[in-house]
Every structure is written in structure tokens, then in C-alpha cells.
């Protein structure tokens, strides 16, 4: 490969290529370290992008992706022209937005609280316990939610103490988002603290000492030292989270919703899933998926642009 490159390059390029090779050789172990990760991303994230083509094709197995006939924007039209499209888009965005609004600050607050704990074994214990929900499968989580919110479940028992009538929460559309988002926070809060705690552990302890000498209390220190020092991490994670707004936990919605809650719970993913049940329609799913990815990317780009204008941290 390298030889071919040499032969077509100009004299100047030949020189720079030589430098590359030299550099490569001098840092060969570092490049070797990068290689597996690089290949992984390349093979599993970049090569499959070729498959995006099926969103614009009538895919036929025998002809393969490239030779299948083009159908243009047919599948995009198909989705956008259906009368439920607006509602599913709204539900998807709102569910993601609420998830971000309540779910994003939660681990930051928890991480700051962990950071204030002085008894080390207690801190470790609570931290470990808080990770647990992350490892429970969605099916189990949904089963637990069903139990808790059923007519004689814990939630109704508690509200019953205050004289309220029992409600079947999972069949009332107005409760769906609350249930989905709050259980999502419970699932992810502990795991979400990890990156923030790592950032907090990097804070120079002398800063706290100096602040103490100046008479700062714990609240002041948290506000003026801890919080600003995890700001770059927070910003990066925030930009990434924006990209995830449209990518709701599809399987959790699917397990948790029912026709009684379609009004607020039916997101793009679940709708397409129901529609695609009749026959494996890859093209349609690919088109909708591509549409979501493009919109998500735009979200990320806008957020990144805004953040860049007001701070030093940004994705690019």
C-alpha cells in the first residue's frame, strides 16, 4: 500500500510521507495501542453506514444493496404522511426532553453529594448500591414498575393513606412520562455519577484548603470549586445527551406502554415497530432511523455551537 502511495506522490509528498513513516516507527507502540479501538469503530460503526443506502431503495436480497432499485424518498414520505407521525414525533421529543431536564442534573447532584461524604466506607457502600439498577434488565425493571403502580401496589397504598382513590397508573396516559422518566432516573443516576466523580477526584485539594482559610463553608466550596471544576465534563456530557433526546429507550417504552397510553407513550420507534410487524421492512426502518440520526446530529451541532460561543469546552 505504502509503495503505491510513493509512486504517485510528488517529490514534496515523498518527503512528508517519509516523515510519517519515521514518526510511525518512532511511536509504533502508541499506534499499536490505538489500532484495536480504531478498527472496532471502523468496522462496526463506519462500514455499516453503507447500509444507509437501503433507506432509498427497494431492497432485494438477491440483488444486494447496491443493485436494488432506487425508490428515492418514498419511505420518508410514507412515514411523514401518516396521520400519527406528528404525535409520535411529539411524544419522542417530549419524552427525551423531560428525560434530559430531570435526568441530566440528577447524577451531578448525587456526585456532588457523594463528594461531601466524609466516611469513606459509607461513601463506597452507597455508591456501589446506587450502581445496581443499571445492571438490571429492562424487562425486570418494567415488571417492578408494574407491581409498584398496580391497583394494590405500593404507590396506590401510599396515596390511599391520604384518602385518594386507587388509580391504574399504567393505563392513564397522563402518568406515562412521569413513570418513564422517574424510573429512568432511578436506573441511571448511580452509574451516571462515575464520570463526575472521576472529574471531582482530579480537583486539587489545596484549593479546598485555601478556601477554608478564607472562611468558605462547604456550600461555598461546592458552589465555587467543585461545580466549576466538573463543568467541562458536564458540558461534554450535555452535548452528547442532546444527541440522545430522540433515542428513547425503545424496548422500555414497548414493554411499558399499552393502547391506553398510546397518546403520550407511542414514540417513533414503537410506531415503526408496529407498522413493520407485517413483513421485515428494513427500508422503512432504515429511513426512519436515518431521519432521527440526522435530526439528532443537527441538535448536537447547534448545542455545540452555542456552548462553544460561551465557554472553552466543546466537542469540536
Amino acid at each position: 500500500m505504502a509503495q503505491t502511495a510513493y509512486s504517485i506522490g510528488s517529490e514534496k509528498e515523498k518527503g512528508s510521507l517519509r516523515r510519517i513513516v519515521q514518526k510511525l516507527l518512532s511511536q509504533k507502540y502508541l499506534y499499536l495501542l490505538v489500532l484495536p479501538g480504531f478498527l472496532l469503530v471502523l468496522v462496526f460503526n463506519y462500514f455499516p453506514m453503507y447500509g444507509i443506502l437501503v433507506a432509498f431503495k427497494k431492497y432485494s436480497v438477491a440483488k444486494g444493496i447496491w443493485d436494488s432499485p432506487w425508490v428515492g424518498m418514498k419511505y420518508f414520505d410514507m412515514f411523514l404522511s401518516n396521520p400519527m407521525a406528528l404525535r409520535t414525533v411529539k411524544n419522542t421529543v417530549l419524552l427525551g426532553l423531560y428525560g434530559l431536564l430531570w435526568g441530566f442534573p440528577a447524577p451531578i447532584i448525587l456526585a456532588l453529594l457523594f463528594n461531601e461524604l466524609r466516611i469513606l466506607w459509607f461513601k463506597r457502600f452507597v455508591q456501589t448500591v446506587s450502581y445496581f439498577p443499571h445492571f438490571i434488565s429492562t424487562v425486570i425493571i418494567v415488571g417492578m414498575i408494574k407491581e409498584l403502580t398496580s391497583l394494590d401496589g405500593l404507590v396506590n397504598q401510599v396515596t390511599g393513606l391520604f384518602g385518594m382513590d386507587p388509580v391504574n397508573f399504567l393505563s392513564e396516559s397522563q402518568f406515562f412520562r412521569t413513570i418513564f422518566v422517574s424510573s429512568g432516573i432511578w436506573q441511571g443516576i448511580g452509574w451516571g455519577t462515575i464520570l463526575y466523580l472521576a472529574a471531582l477526584s482530579g480537583v486539587d485539594p489545596t484549593l479546598y484548603d485555601v478556601a477554608s482559610i478564607d472562611g468558605a463553608n462547604r456550600w461555598h466550596k461546592m458552589k465555587n470549586i467543585s461545580l466549576p471544576s466538573i463543568m467541562p465534563t458536564t458540558i461534554i456530557l450535555f452535548i452528547l445527551a442532546i444527541g440522545g433526546i430522540l433515542g428513547n429507550d425503545f424496548s422500555k417504552v414497548l414493554l411499558l406502554y399499552n393502547p391506553g397510553t398510546y397518546e403520550t407513550a407511542d414514540v417513533i420507534g414503537t410506531y415503526v415497530f408496529r407498522e413493520g410487524l407485517q413483513g421485515g421492512r428494513f427500508e422503512y426502518a432504515a429511513a426512519v432511523g436515518l431521519m432521527l440520526s440526522v435530526v439528532s446530529f443537527i441538535f448536537v451541532a447547534i448545542t455545540n455551537g452555542i456552548v462553544k460561543r460561551f465557554s472553552d469546552s466543546s466537542l469540536w
Binding site: 500500500m1 400519527m84 398510546y262 407485517q278 413483513g279
Partner: protein, 547 residues
Amino acid sequence: MQKSTTALLSILLASSMLAGCSGNNDNGGTDSGASPAASGGSSASGDTNAVEELSFEVMIPKFGVDPADTLVQEQWEKEMETYLGVKLNIKWNRIQWGDEYFEKAKVMAASGEIPDVMLSLEGLSGINDNGEEGLYADLTPYLEQYPYYKEFVNGTPNSDTYLFSSNKKIYAYFDGYDNPTELTPSQYSSSYRLDVFEQNGIKIPETLDEMYDAAKKLKELYPDTYPIGSSGKYMAYAGFYNSLHTSDDIYWNGEKYVFGPTEMSFKEALEFMHKLYAEKLMDPDYFTDEIDQARPKATTGKTFIYPLSWSGFATEFNDNEQANVKWTNALIPSSKYGDAWLYSSEPAGKGLGNGSGIVISAKAKHPELLAKMLDYQYSGKMMTLMNWGVEGTTYEEKDGVKQYTSNILNADNLYDELCKYGVGTTGSCRAGIVWTPQDRVAKYTDPGSVTSFYHDGKETEESYWTANGTYGKGRVAPNDQAPRINFTSDENEQISNTMTPVRTYVQESVIKFIKGEMDLSDWDKFQAQLKKMGDYESVVSLYQSKL
């Protein structure tokens, strides 16, 4: 500095891509080394007589228990080797049934990289599409050549459109059944807490009105219960629909295809359910309960009536000694439209269902031998083996009637015992290349289906299959025996595209009507909105045009 690194990376990228491409070519090419096909021992010419060993790869689902090494599986291989006159060398790939298998089969069919033999779940149009495109072997020539499968093909109504492609070709060994009885039974019934009904002198309902009265009385007697519950979402409303002779989707009403939600009888079903809900006779969890939520209510005296339920649940509740309850099954109550339809009844005779079937890869070597093998699974001898096991060991036959042997019948758990031998009737441990055709008699006489059944003022212990089939004779829902029509994949696309918003709207409106969030006086508005959701009339016409 950065530039040179980028250049290096792009070289690396280009070379890996080339590597990737050439890999693809290998797979797509005709190179025999890359093909997963059978390697006939002595030659690859397709000359059957010359083959000594038939090697091939199979991908099928398993259902919890791997049947490899079971008696029936060993016997299956032995019988097949004798019948084919070759030694079999099979590479089994049994994947757990459910999402795991669905996903794998779908991805394999889509990528075109399939094993020699596999169970396809794509349905007729998907199977035909892939067959016409050359992914699956054309089985039409073997249909006349081998004796057994064609009997099932011929027994299937409208087989020319129901099983064949538009080019008159057949690409799969479809899901077969043989029901030699006269019965067209169902495994679903209405269920009632018999002990509570008898204690309080309440009649087991035969009509919807009687069901309402019974629920009303039970509510008076047990004010903090909801007498009517649901044991699963998919069964929640169908009992009422079947009683009132309607459906929540497009269905065959005996004369033509109609869309249920536009019918008066559908409105009446909603009115009735709304009445039950408003008077707190129907569980507020009715819309969400699955059996896991229903079970505790059924066994602790919180639910007394299931309008429609899988009949086996009653047996399960009754077997719970701690609960000490007595449930019974009965026919679905009738209405002003007459006897209720049976839910999901099974046809009589031999036939095939076109929802899934075993396909042979077009790349497989010796498709004629594989076809002969799969054809043989439809023979009486192999069906007995798959459904009953081995004579003397798992079953015995007296006067033409088969019965499991005493060591099976007396086992703690009949199914676990049958499972050890790989007898397919267990459901969980199925030998052979599934789907192997079902001998429905084995199912209908399965001791596990014996349950309490209430009919004509008295309770008996009998199989829910035969009970529903016998007492419910002539109550087959027209749609269960609808003309077998078919759609092309483009038509299927059109149907799902039009009907998904409509169905979504129907399903959520049903709940709103029952709860009273939508008023039944707004029926016309509902109809108008339904039309806005999609042109269901065109879909009904499409169905109609296929007759």
C-alpha cells in the same frame, strides 16, 4: 504533524476497506469453498445414488430444551437414514425460540447468507419473494416426486394461492397439521369461580345479560372486588366481540370482508363493556393485566369471571393447593346475535398454515435428498414418532387409539417426562426439523388439557379442546375459516401503512369508550376520525378483490 497522521490514517482506512470488500466478494461468489452447502461424500454432481453421506447445516428454533440426544431425535435420524439410504451428517444450530430466533432468521434471510435448511418465519409473501429472487430452492418439482407433503398441500383450501407463488411455485415446507376428528376445537373459554358461584346460588352465565347479572350480584356480595378481570391483554376484549359477532379489525363475516369497528355490534360490545366499567364490575387493571398480575387476583378471590381466557389457566389456579379455589371453563356467553363464536378454533382435516415454513437454500447441494427428507416428516410414521414418541416406551396403541404409557402418565410432571424423550407434543422439547406436522389428536387427548368444564347445568372433567369442540359445534367464527387470500409484499406494505394508524386509533379509542373518556354518543365523530386515520375501505376492497 497532524496532517501526516491524518494521511496515515486514511491509508490504513483504505487498506482495511479493500480487505473488507474482497472478503465480501468471496462470500458472494460461487467459490465452492465459501459456500456453506453440503459436501456430498463422493461427488457433488447431484447424482443421488452416488451419495454416501449427506452433510448439511440446519438452523431451527428450540423451545427451552435442546432435543439433541433424546430417544426420538436418535430414532428420527435412524429412520431418515434408512429412508434416504445415505448416512446423515447434520450440523444442528438450534436457537432459542422468541426474539432470538426471529432476529437471527430475519437477518440471515436479509443478508442472503443462509444455512442449507432453515425455518423461515417470513410468511408466504416473504418466502415467495426470496424464492423468486433465487435465495431458496424451488420445491415444486419435488412435490410430485415424493408422496407425503402433497397430501397436506392438497388438503389446504385455496392452496394454489395460499401456498404457491404467482409463478405457481412452492418454496417451503409449511406448518402442517392433521386433525382427523370432526371437531373444530378451541383452547379458549370463558372462566368462572365455580365454588363462589355455587355458594351464592349464582348461575354460570350462558348469555351476556346473565354475565352482567352475575357480576352485579358478586359485587354486592364482595364490594371491594372487581368481579370481571382479564388474564392477558390479547384476550381482553375478544370474548365480548365473539359474543356479539364482531371484531376490532378487518374480518370475514361469512359473506364478505368487513371492518369491525364500523359495525353496530362493535358499538354494542363497547357499550356493554362501558356499563361493566362504570358500575365497577370490571377491574380497572383490565386494560393492562397479563397473567402475572391476574394470577394473584384469581387465586385470592379478587376476580370471579374471565370473559375469555386460556382454558389451561383454570387448571393451574385449581392446582394451587394454598389458594383452594375452583375455577371452571365454559363456552363464551351468547348474545342477541345467537351463539358466541369460538375464539381461534382449529380446522378439521389435513392442511398447512402459510405463516412459516422450512426452506432449503438454493445453494444447498443435493436439494433432492433434503426435499425427500423433509417430505418424509409428513408421513404417518414420522408424525407418530414426533407426536407420540416410540411405541412401548412412550405410548401404546389399543384398537387404533394411542395413549401414553403408564410411566409417562404417572410421572410427577407429564411434560417433563415426555420432554426427556423429545416428544414434540410437550412444546418445549421438539425433535426433528421443526415445524414437524402436528397430530392434533395427540394434543386434544393430552391429559394436561383435562380441566373443569361447565356445560348444560353440570360440571365435568374433560379436555378443554374436546369440550369446546363438542359443545361448541357449529360455533366456528367465520373468520377462522375465511377464504385463504394472499397479498404481494407491496400490498402488505400498503396494508400496514394504511392500517397501522387506524388500528392504533381503534385500540386506544376502545379503552377510552370503556372508561367513558369518550362518549358513545360521539360514535359518529369516532367514525369520521377513523376515516381520517386511513383509507381502511380501500384495504377492505383489496381483501375483497382477492376472492
